[in-house]
């Protein structure tokens, strides 16, 4: 059985790309399988091929991962005859980007329009969370399934970067970690406000690490400016980090914090729960579903002061502490998610799409 996958952009440390690579490894145990992308980052040249290289001969199925608009890709898909499996990672509402980046906002709007165009071509539609699945149903897709995001936790099983480890070890207090791109919907500006309150009034020795690429220059500049004007010397903008740096950050941090207002799943939450970090987040999009009660989940109306108070609670260890209970709950939740077998569920859905069922296994 030959099944290829397509993403808009193949980039390192990107949740959609990571998910596709995990699925590719599983697909290759059944037959030929490649990952194609409209844009391929240099670091992934060995893992992903340009979309233009997609063979013209029909294969058994094509899997497309949707997270933003890309008309060239959509046109390619409309001209193919294979069964199409849509994996929906969610498209960020463009309103988050309107004040900062008109081009990205336009691509996000286009993405939703392209989903509607593809609707009749899709044999099986899958969301990586129930939140995403519900959105697809709202767009008119029928029989939408849920297959959780495959989070490649093995990437953290590396030697932690000593420089990053030393930097965290030298901190004079709790260190809070945020993993995610510096983008408007992820609200690092909110995190900085909460951290300002924490550091000024509650826990003066604390630190904050923001690990993630800065792909929205205007917004990133404003966030850096806010940190500078609030005089927060212990904020480390770590940028797009390697797996070894990320491993060091997860090992050395006190808690994972995210102020994000839109996530289709949120892989860092799973990573944090797995490695034993308590999580502080806000009740937006798929976050309640991914956490499922295993972290502190603040409401939209809770401001930075309540968030700062949650950070403090998540940092204080000891018998019967909130922190210890959150760590235990997080590890149980991580095990539940691992037991959900995202890869197996995906392969079952794929078999349904190509109508092969058990026969596909015999043929491979």
């Amino acid at each position: 059985m030959t099944v290829h996958q397509i993403v808009v952009a193949a980039a390192p440390h990107d949740a959609v790309t990571n998910h596709a690579l995990v699925l590719r490894d599983a697909l290759r145990r059944r037959g030929p399988s490649e990952l194609f992308a409209r844009f391929v980052h240099d670091d992934l040249a060995g893992d992903a091929r340009p979309l233009a290289a997609l063979p013209t001969d029909p294969v058994d199925a094509l899997v497309v991962h949707a997270s933003i608009g890309e008309m060239t890709l959509t046109e390619v898909l409309l001209n193919r005859s294979e069964p199409l499996v849509l994996v929906y990672h969610n498209i960020t509402p463009p309103e988050f980007f309107d004040p900062w980046d008109a081009r990205v906002a336009g691509e996000l709007r286009q993405g939703r329009e392209e989903l509607a165009v593809l609707r009749d071509r899709v044999a099986v539609a899958l969301g990586v969370s129930e939140f995403n699945a519900a959105e697809l149903r709202g767009l008119g897709f029928a029989d939408v399934g849920v297959v959780p995001l495959a989070v490649p936790l093995g990437r953290l099983d590396v030697e932690p970067d000593p420089g990053a480890a030393d930097r965290l070890a030298a901190a004079g207090g709790p260190v809070f970690l945020s993993v995610g791109q510096v983008l408007p919907h992820k609200r690092p500006d909110f995190l900085l406000r909460a951290f300002h309150i924490l550091r000024t009034y509650l826990a003066p020795g604390s630190g904050l690490v923001l690990a993630g690429a800065e792909r929205s220059p205007r917004y990133a500049r404003a966030v850096h400016q806010l940190a500078a004007e609030l005089a927060l010397p212990d904020v480390w903008f770590a940028g797009d980090v390697s797996d070894s740096v990320l491993a060091a950050l997860y090992r050395g941090a006190t808690a994972l914090v995210t102020a994000s207002e839109h996530e289709g799943f949120c892989a860092p939450v799973v990573e944090a729960m797995t490695v034993g970090l308590p999580v502080v987040a806000r009740r937006f999009a798929a976050l309640p579903e991914t956490l499922d009660g295993a972290g502190i989940l603040l409401e939209a109306a809770d401001g930075p002061a309540v968030f700062a108070e949650a950070m403090l609670a998540a940092s204080e260890a000891g018998p019967g502490s909130v922190r210890d209970a959150l760590v235990a709950a997080g590890q149980r939740r991580a095990m539940e998610l691992a037991a959900a077998d995202p890869v197996g569920s995906f392969l079952d859905a794929l078999d349904g799409a190509i109508g092969a069922g058990a026969g596909a296994g015999a043929a491979s």
């Binding site: 008109a102 099983d157 806010l226 797995t274 972290g295 603040l298 809770d302």
Partner: protein, 152 residues
């Protein structure tokens, strides 16, 4: 093998209670207590919001907004031109009667002058809109150029 794999292999303790059920309410109460005790300055969160808003709109966008407000005020003044707004009150006995009589006498001329001023105001408002669009376009182009520059 280390990292996540090692941590995954550790036994997971069973908590006595679900920790988060009442926690958020407790956190809010603590914030209220700190505010009541004067630990936080008044308007702390609002000021932080405002601070980021100012950063976000600083520079050319800030000036664009000021231009927009000034032009809107000028346009509003143009739309408000009316002979009815020329008052006829007077502090002198019988003065108001005289003013109203004069107003009636020169009403045709006043209305004629106002019509010309309104036409001028309309033309100016149109020019303002064109100016604003051109300036907004320039701001957008400047932003795009800045985005292409290295961050540092």
């Amino acid at each position: 093998m280390g990292g996540a794999e090692a941590l995954r292999s550790q036994p997971v303790p069973e908590p006595d209670v679900t920790p988060v059920d009442d926690l958020v309410a407790q956190l809010r109460a603590r914030v209220d207590e700190r505010r009541a005790a004067g630990e936080y300055p008044e308007g702390l969160e609002e000021n932080l919001d405002l601070h980021f808003h100012h950063i976000a709109t600083r520079g050319v966008r800030d000036r664009l907004e000021r231009l927009r407000e000034a032009l809107e005020a000028a346009d509003a003044a143009g739309r408000a031109l009316s002979a009815a707004r020329i008052d006829t009150v007077s502090g002198k006995a019988g003065g108001a009667v005289v003013h109203r009589a004069v107003a009636r006498l020169v009403g045709r001329q006043v209305e004629g002058a106002l019509t010309q001023v309104r036409e001028y105001a309309d033309a100016l408002a149109e020019a303002h809109r064109a100016l604003l669009l051109a300036y907004a376009d320039l701001v957008s182009q400047v932003d795009d150029l800045r985005d292409r520059l290295p961050s540092e």
